[in-house]
């Protein structure tokens, strides 16, 4: 252990902590190296004082940035210590932490040191050392710096489980205003390349395809030497495969599939992250953007990060404004509706109501807007219909369907199945009976739910008087983060 390691680790960890993603999920693997494995569901190892889980060793390789993004703590013009890890040093540190079961793997990100390619080369060196020299088979999430060359991205993708390119801002206008050196094209190019490589990989591995049993180096996936994307930029044509010169002298069909870490390109997919509250976009714009990202790039997750004012700049909310935590929370709820409940962004937010209601969750709001579709009979409804009922989630919906195969669902059973009855009872019938009392009008129901959420908040505040929670912040602000945004618009 070197003496400077402690300082580097704390400084570079501190700089990385605003990166949201810490998930170690998406790809299960047994130990194919000397140490390490990955669980499909991911494993959290500890929780920091802000209640966020710490699963991966989330750290920057360097915070010595040449860019000057307005919202960022590491921007070139900011004061503060600059540190850079040696790739070897970080690889050893990761292994030692991993041996002690402190972490589930490595989340390696970096400021732009000298140039995107220079940074990516050093990141790759660190990851390669981990995989090849230390025999590490645990989880690796690598952040891709916009503007990196496609060859390097390919190499990094083969040693990492998950890749992410931060989209940073919901619209390109905000991006050019706040991060003038990051171009939208430079962000979308690596995203496109990752998506296309994965599609190609899936196609080639599909049953009935003669490519399927070829060893990794000849599948057109391990593109290290084949030059599949080399020189074509990110928009590599799908037809490029046929024109690609193949390596000669190998076996056409291998006896056994290789079971090593570099068998696949980014097997746990890609994610991205955007900043909330630093720019004036409406929630509708944000949700539309994330819906488009899910559809177009088959993202695993689109993360939101409430902007914490760390920088005093005229383009940004003032240093005194609290982070829009409530807004971030409601956006995540809407994100869940997109991903697990079959909602579309247009259903959640209409043109007349472009922002989420921060007092109630978006599913309740949707149900109140479409009160005519309710109540729904749980014993006959389809899964999609069940999922529209507030208080019923994926687990309870599936339990209802399963029990229906052997016996009728009774009203008393619903609670045992995990249905949140204080919300659900207004929206369902069970065996033809409605249990929600007389409150069947949207306005009245809204009042009921509002009172309930207020009461819960007050109880929470009583339990935990020392900390400032989102509700206090909202009250102090006089009703939501909207004033903060208009303030921001005024300053433009």
């Amino acid at each position: 252990m070197e003496s400077g390691t402690f300082e580097k680790l704390t400084v570079l960890g501190e700089s990385a902590k605003y990166d949201v993603s810490c998930s170690s999920s998406g790809h299960a693997r047994v130990n194919v190296g000397r140490i390490g494995s990955a669980a499909c569901a991911g494993i959290c190892h500890t929780w920091t004082s802000d209640g966020r889980c710490l699963s991966l060793l989330k750290v920057l390789l360097s915070n010595d940035c040449v860019y000057d993004c307005k919202y960022c703590v590491n921007r070139r013009t900011a004061d503060g210590a600059r540190r850079t890890f040696e790739p070897k040093e970080l690889a050893e540190l990761t292994i030692e932490f991993y041996r002690r079961n402190y972490i589930e793997g490595l989340f390696l990100s970096s400021a732009v040191l000298v140039s995107p390619d220079h940074t990516a080369e050093r990141m790759y060196e660190c990851l390669w050392l981990l995989r090849e020299v230390h025999g590490f088979a645990g989880y690796i999430h690598a952040k891709i710096v916009p503007g990196v060359s496609p060859e390097l991205l390919t190499q990094i993708g083969l040693v990492a489980d998950r890749l992410s390119v931060n989209i940073e801002m919901p619209t390109s206008q905000s991006l050019s205003l706040l991060a003038p050196q990051k171009k939208p094209e430079a962000i979308f190019a690596p995203m496109t390349q990752i998506t296309r490589t994965q599609m190609e990989q899936r196609t080639l591995k599909a049953a009935g395809n003669m490519q399927r049993l070829r060893p990794a180096g000849y599948e057109g996936i391990d593109m290290g030497g084949t030059g599949l994307y080399v020189g074509e930029g990110a928009g590599g044509e799908a037809g490029a495969l046929t024109s690609t010169p193949r390596k000669t002298g190998g076996h056409i069909v291998s006896e056994s599939r290789r079971k090593t870490w570099n068998e696949k390109f980014a097997p746990a997919g890609q994610t991205t992250q955007m900043l909330i509250g630093a720019s004036p976009e409406s929630d509708r714009q944000i949700l539309h953007m994330s819906e488009a990202l899910y559809r177009r790039f088959t993202m695993k997750r689109v993360y939101f990060s409430a902007y914490i004012p760390v920088v005093d700049a005229p383009e940004l909310p003032s240093l005194l404004s609290p982070p829009p935590l409530r807004r971030e929370h409601r956006l995540y709820q809407a994100d869940w509706l997109l991903r697990f409940y079959g909602f579309s962004a247009d259903e959640i937010l209409t043109e007349t109501e472009p922002n989420l209601d921060y007092d109630l969750d978006p599913k309740v709001i949707w149900a109140l807007r479409h009160i005519d579709a309710f109540p729904i009979e749980v014993n006959t409804a389809s899964e999609a219909e069940l999922l529209r009922i507030p208080g019923i989630g994926n687990v309870s919906a599936r339990r209802i369907l399963r029990q229906r195969r052997v016996q009728k669902v009774r009203y008393e059973d619903l609670k045992k199945m995990g249905v949140v009855m204080k919300r659900a009872r207004y929206f369902l019938t069970c065996g033809g009976r409605y249990h929600g009392g007389k409150e069947q009008e949207a306005e009245k129901l809204r009042t009921v739910f509002m009172l309930e959420s207020r009461a819960a908040e007050d109880a929470a505040a009583l339990m935990n008087p020392g900390t400032l929670n989102a509700a206090d912040i909202r009250r102090a602000l006089g009703g939501g983060e909207k004033p903060q945004i208009s303030l921001f618009e005024a300053s433009l």
Binding site: Y18, S49, R100, P323, L414, N464, T467
Partner: protein
């Protein structure tokens, strides 16, 4: 009739055998927990492998192997009066067969599900919350990884496959201090054995340094503007903190 058994799984299955072939059970207790009940006869059941196997075969054949596994998980939980809950589940299973697992609304199924879920949660949580120290064997001088835990449920054998695969190139020990049991593993093989006394080992030279690094990193990662100790404790209950270097002050 109350049955008293020796706190082994076979012992419980033998009690289940007697429930059907001798007399209905009104309570089944492990011997260390039994308190004299003047209203009922109590019988100390001698564990009989053949009888136990007959019950287990019946469960496998008439319910399913999946449910047999669930019943074993309930046995490993610290659920109060788990024996009667398991027995009721088996009885209900004999009546309904494998579809018992679809009856989510039934109180008997619900009770077993809840206990099984708690075991599953602890297994998953432990995969993250076990902390190894690099230790040196006082006799041979070899290094090994050693972790101390205090478990709620008896889940050492459920976490064993995960850790023995992950650390297959190094010997390690996970010591359940509260039960006096240890999980010993090396090279992908593992075994759970009684471990009452402390092992003759001492921390290696680097150990303290890495703990300091980890604690420093952990403290740096909390975002002050978002402080939320309640959520932190919700995910990481305080009873685990004793063995976590990042929060216990090394």
């Amino acid at each position: 009739m109350n049955y008293i058994y020796d706190n082994t799984y076979e012992g419980f299955l033998t009690c289940a055998y007697h429930h059907w072939y001798t007399e209905k059970a009104e309570g089944i207790f492990p011997d260390e927990l039994y308190q004299l009940d003047l209203c009922r006869y109590a019988m100390s059941v001698e564990t009989d492998a053949a009888k136990a196997e007959r019950v287990l075969d019946a469960v496998n054949a008439r319910i399913s192997t999946w449910d047999a596994e669930r019943i074993y998980k309930v046995f490993c939980s610290n659920e109060p009066e788990k024996e009667m809950k398991m027995l009721r589940y088996i009885a209900l299973g004999f009546r309904h067969g494998p579809k018992i697992r679809l009856m989510h609304g039934d109180p008997v199924v619900k009770a077993a599900e809840a206990a099984e879920q708690r075991v599953g949660r602890e297994v998953h949580r432990l995969c993250g919350l076990v902390r190894f120290s690099e230790a040196r064997d006082g006799i041979s001088g070899n290094t090994l990884l050693y972790a101390k835990v205090e478990l709620d449920n008896d889940v050492l054998e459920f976490i064993a496959p995960h850790f023995s695969d992950r650390y297959k190139s190094e010997p390690f020990v996970i010591h359940d201090v509260s039960r006096g049991k240890g999980l010993f593993a090396y090279g992908g093989e593992w075994e759970v054995m009684p471990l009452e006394a402390a092992l003759p080992i001492e921390a290696s030279e680097d150990e303290h340094g890495y703990r300091l690094l980890w604690k420093g990193y952990f403290d740096a990662m909390g975002i002050r503007e978002r402080a939320n100790p309640k959520t932190q404790r919700g995910f990481m209950p305080a009873r685990y903190w004793k063995h976590l270097p990042e929060v216990s002050g090394l």
